[in-house]
Symmetry: C2
Subunit: 258 residues, 2 copies
Amino acid sequence: MADTARTRPAVPDTAGSFPVTVDVVALTVREGALHALVVDRLLEPFRGQAALPGGFVLPGETLEQAAGRELEEETGLTVPTGATGAGPWHLEQLRTYGPLGRDPRGPVLSVTYLLLAPAFGLPAAGGDAAEARWVPVDGNAGGLAFDHDHILADGIERARAKIEYSPLGAAFCPPEFPVAELRGVYEAVWGTRLDARNFHRKATGTPGFLEPTGRLGGGGPGRPAELYRLAAGVDPTAAVLHPPLMRPVSSGRAAPSA
Amino acid sequence: MADTARTRPAVPDTAGSFPVTVDVVALTVREGALHALVVDRLLEPFRGQAALPGGFVLPGETLEQAAGRELEEETGLTVPTGATGAGPWHLEQLRTYGPLGRDPRGPVLSVTYLLLAPAFGLPAAGGDAAEARWVPVDGNAGGLAFDHDHILADGIERARAKIEYSPLGAAFCPPEFPVAELRGVYEAVWGTRLDARNFHRKATGTPGFLEPTGRLGGGGPGRPAELYRLAAGVDPTAAVLHPPLMRPVSSGRAAPSA
DNA sequence: GCAAAAGTGTTTCTTGTACACCCATGA
DNA sequence: TCATGGGTGTACAAGAAACACTTTTGC
């Protein structure tokens, strides 16, 4: 074992060394349906096939920085790094896959992240970036490169579970939104219908969840809705919904695959 | 970019390559208190200091295999790999830390696992393995090497949250156990007292949680308790407790650090 | 006025919580 | 018999579910 210096111990040379990718399950709600972000691969392996946005971690980068960089390269949007809670975005680590049997190039570790975001437009195809697009995830998406179908399913299940007890549903909404929009998020993510009146009471009555802005959101038919924002100073990963807002038992509650 | 072959694309050479460790937060309940497994480090860095059991992933290993191997080397016990659900043990991935600023040897990624286990004895110190021991985690453990204090706190919080809605509390118990032992697990993990009678009703009345064995556990004073086992064929990570067994609001419910 | 959506009130039922009470054993 | 812990019954309160009803807008 080559001890370069007594003050700077070295990693044992029997240890493996692995390329590491960061892949992102980016979810949003558009037109009442849950969508995931995918890109068409420009390079082998799986060239031309859809995949989750992601790529290799570069030396000197943190995992979060790599996730933000890949998202920016492939969607043009800038995710404030360490953005857990800053703005409507929410980025959190999902889990790590690999290193064996998931990449034809050899052993590769993939650290995956879950991004919950309000709907946003994507740059047109072309340029140096692969085309990124939103695809609905109505149960049957499928067909992604690598083990990305599996990762996507795990990300969706995480999102479904998380909005039960955390205020993270608001991460799918713009900074100010009516209660009905938040309800639409829950309905899209869970794939169920919720009673508008009971949801309103529960959402507005839970301390540390919503905060009225005083403004009204006009536009559509019917009475204008009051606009709310996510309560200030609340950790968006904290369990503030006590008791939780639980999905109806009919809704899919599959455990994430081990 | 050196394309070694058209049929076997290579990892781009701008990608970083990282040593990867697996570290395990092993928790158990002994004498009514939650304990974590730590080992005393025999090598630099942090020689002589306590740390979570773990070590480098070797080439050709899966992460779970590495976790099982490290546990076996340091505690002498054999964790059936892919053991999610087999036997009373439960091993699940916690999260991944790094690669920057956590190891004086340089950038190292740590994939961490959470092991929930019934109390078991440990081999005596000496031999080629570091001494492993159980330490109580009454809030103030502290003093572990690397970022292991942080990882341990995340693991404890995961365990606290998980037993609310999954049958995993039984992973701390032997194959057959009285309801009171399971209640003791909840009390130790949450650091609260629970009403024995209501707990009994809830635990035995939840479908897919406990299964009577018909046997009685004698021994102590008082009426002998019926023994139960974890219900067969239930995914221990599935959320079977509906509605969940929720910890009293006074109990620590800190969100895992981002 | 009418339709549509927001928001409130009310009733019913389920569940958590607290605690009185009985059961089965050892000393 | 008493102490100890296992297990059941019951009353109360909090919350979920269902839905009638009022409010406020556009057409």
